[in-house]
């Protein structure tokens, strides 16, 4: 019964149509390649800056120099200086690792929990699925900012607090991606066959179903990576991000906010960096998405 219904649905939206699959396979590969290239070029910019930063730092990131505050961008200070006379270029360079660590941490929590809940919901369905959905609905209906505020109020500002608060808010999105993937594949004949052969559920989930959605998940992770950077900067904007002694681009944007009219350059440098990194991740995510679509059609 369930089987039949699903076929009907497939027909409505994404009919596996031989002709279309053929047409796509050739064009998608090309598109994906371009997406990847642009993505990697964009990601390379901040990465190169960071590598330079390891070996050579033009200025100190913390020491303050009141005589050089709000210096406009020139040959000495490429991106100008901030309200304490610190070189913005240097700070932007050294702000990369923490920005990325936070983003990775958020996605680690979101993805691992999402994977667990999503796989169970998608594979078992029924009651497990019902409650998994209710929890994810509830989480989706709570604004992320509220979660951030409650977390920061409870545990103080800090790297871990940002990671955990946003990580939790990222769970439902991963859960949905994985659940829908599992729903799609668990009805396939190879799963039925495996079940008949007596394979354990864990084995089916991990060894047979998970590889099917791996590309799709990678695409989601690339996107999640970009979104985590945006989310961190939004939290920082409301003063809920990392403490001032840590440098992230979100934090730098927040600090620049009070001096936007006196020193707009102090916001532009970290802002541009965020845009570059996020855009790069978007492109890679799009490329991965195209490949995964192609696979599910083939």
């Amino acid at each position: 019964m369930r089987f039949k219904r699903k076929d009907k649905n497939n027909q409505i939206s994404f009919a596996p149509d031989v002709q279309r699959a053929y047409y796509r396979a050739s064009s998608i590969n090309k598109g994906a390649k371009i997406q990847f290239r642009i993505g990697f070029v964009l990601l390379a910019i901040p990465l190169v800056l960071f590598l330079i930063n390891i070996f050579y730092r033009p200025y100190d990131t913390t020491s303050m120099n009141m005589s050089e505050r709000f210096v406009t961008p020139d040959s000495k200070h490429w991106f100008g200086t901030d309200n304490y006379g610190r070189d913005i270029f240097t700070r932007v360079m050294s702000g990369l690792p923490l920005t990325i660590i936070i983003s990775i941490g958020i996605n680690l929590i979101g993805c691992s929990s999402g994977l667990l809940i999503g796989a169970l919901s998608g594979y078992y369905g029924g009651t497990v699925d019902y409650w998994g959905n209710r929890i994810s609905d509830a989480l989706l209906s709570i604004p992320a900012i509220l979660m951030g505020m409650l977390f920061v109020a409870t545990f103080g500002n800090g790297i871990w607090q940002v990671i955990v608060a946003l990580g939790i808010m990222f769970i439902p999105s991963y859960m949905r991606v994985i659940r829908s993937g599992f729903l799609e594949y668990r009805q396939r004949n190879f799963v039925k066959r495996l079940q008949l052969l007596g394979a354990s559920s864990g084995r089916i989930i991990w060894r047979h179903l998970f590889p099917q959605i791996r590309t799709r998940l990678m695409s989601a992770i690339a996107l999640g990576f970009a979104n985590a950077i945006l989310a961190e900067s939004s939290l920082s904007f409301l003063g809920l991000g990392v403490p001032p002694s840590q440098i992230t681009w979100g934090r730098m944007l927040k600090d620049a906010q009070g001096f936007l009219f006196q020193a707009p350059w102090s916001a532009i440098a970290p802002g541009l960096m965020i845009v570059t990194l996020v855009l790069g991740s978007f492109f890679i995510s799009n490329g991965l998405k195209q490949i995964s679509q192609q696979r599910s059609l083939a």
């Binding site: 090309k30 371009i34 290239r37 642009i38 913390t62 020491s63 303050m64 009141m66 505050r69 709000f70 406009t72 961008p73 100008g80 309200n83 304490y84 505020m149 920061v152 109020a153 409870t154 103080g156 500002n157 800090g158 003063g239 403490p243 001032p244 002694s245 906010q257 009070g258 001096f259 936007l260 009219f261 006196q262 020193a263 707009p264 350059w265 532009i268 541009l272």
Partner: protein, 533 residues
Amino acid sequence: MAKHKKIMQKVLIILSLVLFLTACGKKDAEKDTKNTEQTDQIVSEDDAKKDDGSLEEQAEPQQGGSVIVGITQELDSLDPYLAAAAGTKEVIYNFFDGLVKLMPDGTFEPALAESFNFSDDATEFTFKIRTGVKFHNDTELTIDDVVYSLQRAAGMLPDSKAALIPQLAIIESVSGDAEAGTVTVKLKESDADFITYMTLAIIPQDYTEQAQKPIGTGPFIFTEYKTQQHLKMKRNADYWRDRTAYLDEVTFMIVSDADAAIMDLQEGNFDIFPYLTMDKAELLKDKYDFIAADSNMVQIWGLNNQRAPFDDPVVRKALNMAVDKQMLIDAVTFGEGRALESGMAPPMQDYYNADLASQYNPEEAKKMLEEAGYQDLKIEITVPGDYVIHVQTAEVLAAQLEQIGVTAEVKTVDWGTWLSDVYMGRNYDSTVIALTFDYVAPATVLRHYYSKSDNNFINFVNTEFDELYESALSETDHAKRVELYHQMQKILQDDAASVFLQNPGTQTAVIKTLGGYTTYPQYVQDMYTVYYK
């Protein structure tokens, strides 16, 4: 080939975007250098104006007009005794009069009391109440109203649980004499500061809607309040003083913060905007005059005296020597602040001990720490993240401490958390905070160092200080009191109770067509004196 073309196109688009953004930045940058060059001039002009106050008085005050005042805090209860936020008190000030009025120079003048006198031991105060004063609801002010107001504020009404104004808890009895037209207040113990509390708003008896629609005798009448939006008031045409207010209508606009309102300020959409920093003055000098005001804040770097390493006076002294307060003031308040050496601020007039010298000496500080065996000291500074000034101060402190080899980690917490964990729980290393005084009463600030007080959150214990504090409370002779408070400040410096940083100044932007804006040593936005030139 086509592939390459597409990539090129994308690259071109990126490049043009980048160029566009940087071009935007440059234009503003040029503007800014011009601004910075002129800043010094502007400041000196302002100073000149400040000195010559009579110049502004010469402009002829016009009757009428309306102004928009920007405020950055949501209001709480409009009941003058229940209002807790400073941001609410400064607004509802315009609805009420007290028995006495605080003047700009810190002295007190009789207001709803025609005159007052008090016993030598400062335990009994008698006020002669003015006649012919009307509340906004057209009822006349009676002795009963005054007695009711004092009793309600002191928590002496049958249904009250505690004093609504904590300073008034020392009132033993309030009695009115209708024939003589006087009200007499008896205190449980002597309190020479008591008269400063008598700026307390006088409200009509048994009127229960103060929180929604406040009624007093003040120069302005409440008309409308919308949460998160605005509070409006109109002129009281029946005001008891020799003249009514100049302005017909005043609107207090609630905005989330000054940074967000800056565009409106540049367009001149606000008429008055208090609590701006000096750097904003540079941007807005075309449309606004800037009036410098003392704040009622004593910003300190509070060191938890019971926690290592701050339990060692040597460490506290060394830290005191390590902080370059002038650099801090330049960085955080753009030079508009006064460096402090002890727990009292200049707006406290005579009580402020101006003779204490700066101890800045980082080399000596480093040596002291080394000799006492504190190598690679690591400390934590917990600051309320909602207050940008404190966060920035902590950042600057951390940078300065690095110079003497001390590593300071700045940790920001939410204000509510700060109050319960740091202030009440006293569970912290060190913190940056501003102690405020609601009245020009020196005890309210120094209470934070009195070991028996709830508010001694830095856990400072010094018996000599406690004795002086106790005797100052009951001392009525002004000169002797001043002397006692000066001694207390000396102890705070000598014992290095904490690191006393600054008394930040604030700037109020007043649009150039307005005059008469007056500042007081207390947070109020007095609209009575404001007029169109």
